[in-house]
């Protein structure tokens, strides 16, 4: 396999209070191609953040390994930028200071002017020009999240990792930021991995949607390929004939199958090769059915 990112049989366990251990997940396999946008959905506590932290190198799996671009992950890297759920800006630095901090961390020998220019470019990209001298405390939630995005983009990462980046925002701001992230990712062919609770966000942004069952011992139930056209727009997603079959499939998974999957595993289910499905107008899946794409 020469996939860009390859998660191979990783496991994560925590010791239980009364001895023994709880397995959050084990024997988890998943891979991504270069330039692909993947989203993972699943219920709270199933282990999504854990997977993302392992991809970021902030945590190491108890078993298995993660390979990025031919190298096993041993720790965090400037190649993999993280957009944190809590934006994690440094409150004592300005917007420009926060982004510059990332830029100067990546290019240690750059002059201050070069660093500032690169940081400003990223700030402009997320539409924050004019606010670069403000401190995070003077920004709205959406603006803070934009700074987090600018900081991640400023270091030209090979992979963008996002942990529910928009969940704390109001619907309007969220939509605007989704548009921006989609535009940037499509324009630059950015490889991205995102955790979300929002089905529509996954449909709009992701090429592949990973469905994770409830924990403990969570599994990847299936990988859903997005049938919507690549030049989709958020405002007319629902006009696509594939939209409702896809959405229903995802909602159906979150509502029922995420719980029952473990007991009703489809025949021939293989953790290493979870079924890939492509629900759409020409391929409406009835609940519970996971038809493989040829």
């Amino acid at each position: 396999m020469n996939k860009f990112i390859s998660i191979e049989s990783i496991a994560r366990r925590y010791p239980k209070a009364g001895g023994g251990s709880t397995t959050i997940f084990e024997n988890l396999w998943f891979s991504m191609n270069r330039g692909e946008f993947s989203a993972i959905i699943g219920h709270s506590g199933c282990g999504k953040t854990t997977v993302l932290n392992i991809l970021a190198g902030l945590e190491l799996p108890d078993d298995g390994l993660t390979v990025v671009d031919g190298h096993a992950i041993e720790g965090p890297s400037l190649d993999r930028a993280v957009i944190f759920q809590s934006h994690a800006l440094l409150p004592w630095r300005t917007v420009l200071g926060n982004v510059s901090y990332a830029v100067s961390s990546k290019w240690r020998d750059w002059s201050a002017e070069k660093v500032a220019a690169k940081a400003m470019a990223a700030i402009e990209k997320v539409g924050l020009k004019g606010s670069e001298m403000k401190k995070p405390a003077e920004l709205s939630g959406g603006m803070k999240q934009r700074v987090g995005i600018a900081r991640a983009l400023s270091i030209d990462p090979k992979i963008l990792l996002m942990d529910e980046p928009f969940s704390a925002l109001d619907a309007l701001t969220r939509g605007a930021l989704q548009d921006e992230v989609r535009r940037i990712c499509v324009e630059t062919g950015q490889t991205a991995f995102m955790i979300t609770h929002d089905v529509d966000e996954a449909i709009y942004l992701a090429d592949k949607i990973v469905l994770m069952t409830n924990g403990p011992e969570a599994m990847i139930a299936e990988i859903v390929e997005n049938p919507l056209p690549r030049d989709r727009r958020r405002v007319d997603l629902h006009r696509s004939p594939d939209y409702y079959p896809l959405r229903n499939h995802l909602i159906d998974f979150l509502v029922t199958r995420s719980k029952t999957f473990k007991d009703e595993m489809p025949e021939g289910y293989d953790k290493r090769h979870p079924p890939i499905v492509r629900p759409g107008a020409d391929n409406p899946l009835t609940p519970g059915e996971t038809r493989k794409v040829a």
């Binding site: 902030l58 965090p76 890297s77 400037l78 944190f84 809590s86 440094l90 004592w92 961390s105 405390a137």
Partner: protein, 279 residues
């Protein structure tokens, strides 16, 4: 509204101060008239008292004395007669030297304790035992080992200011938000740069709180230490003027100690405000 509150506060302060001065003035006046009733006794006391007055001085006496000190703050007429400015400079010098040494020790050690749970466990018992020891209890030991009264006083300042700074630094460092550290980790920031660009600014407000506590304690302790070791300093000045029965000068010294202590505290408060970040 806020400015008018400030203005009203200042006005009330002035009123309280004036009432206090008046009460003081009148209270002292009463005693003086008692003394006048017995001229024999008054004359006797006048002779017994060495130059200064034995009766409680009034605010006008203190004011006149302050004026005199202001005319000539730095005169030096032998070991027992130096201007209040010189004495103050000696005390400030000792405090700042001992305090600076304490900063040099407390911040790095505090950092170490804050970053390493092992060092925290290992050093905690020592700190817990050392912290409650009155700094003056060290004085005999310091005099015996150092054999220099001035350096002993500096040592006592050092030992009393080091603990609050160390404890606060350790606490501030260990309380650095995990998410900020994760930012540094994902950016592959080197340990030294991380210490100065993430942990230090994150812990700075807590560290400054410790430094403010320390300077307060140091200024309290220097007066007592100088009374003990003698020689120079504002503490010695107070003791010397008490021996001279110059209550006026004692009151002046008390006032000066209060004002300088306030200035030290306000300076650090200003620094603390500068490094505090809103979240």
């Amino acid at each position: 509204m806020l400015t008018s509150l400030n203005a009203r506060g200042a006005l009330l302060s002035a009123v309280i101060f004036t009432v206090f001065l008046l009460a003081w003035h009148i209270g002292v006046q009463g005693k003086a008239s008692v003394a006048q009733m017995d001229p024999e006794y008054a004359r006797l006391m006048g002779v017994a008292a060495t130059q200064g007055k034995s009766a409680m001085p009034g605010p006008l006496d203190v004011g006149a004395q302050i004026w005199q000190h202001l005319q000539e703050p730095f005169y030096d007429r032998g070991p027992n007669d130096k201007g209040v400015g010189i004495q103050l400079a000696y005390s400030l010098g000792r405090v700042l030297l001992g305090y600076a040494l304490a900063v040099l020790v407390a911040l790095p050690v505090g950092f170490l304790i804050g970053m390493s749970p092992l060092m925290n466990r290992a050093l905690d018992p020592f700190i817990q035992v050392m912290k409650p020891i009155s700094p003056l209890a060290w004085m005999p030991l310091a005099l015996y080992t150092i054999k220099d009264s001035s350096i002993s006083a500096i040592f006592v300042i050092f030992i009393c200011s080091v603990w609050p700074m160390m404890i606060n630094t350790a606490f501030g460092v260990s309380a650095t938000r995990k998410e900020w550290l994760n930012v540094a980790r994902t950016l592959e920031v080197r340990p030294l740069r991380k210490a100065f660009t993430i942990i230090l600014p994150a812990a700075a407000p807590t560290i400054l709180t410790g430094m403010r506590i320390s300077i307060g304690i140091a200024w309290l302790v220097i007066v007592a230490a100088e009374m003990l070791v003698g020689g120079t300093g504002i503490g010695y000045f107070v003791w010397n003027e008490w021996n001279n029965l110059s209550i006026t000068n004692v009151i002046v010294a008390i006032l000066v100690i209060g004002l300088v202590g306030m200035a030290l505290d306000q300076t650090l408060a200003r620094v603390a405000r500068a490094v505090t970040y809103p979240e």
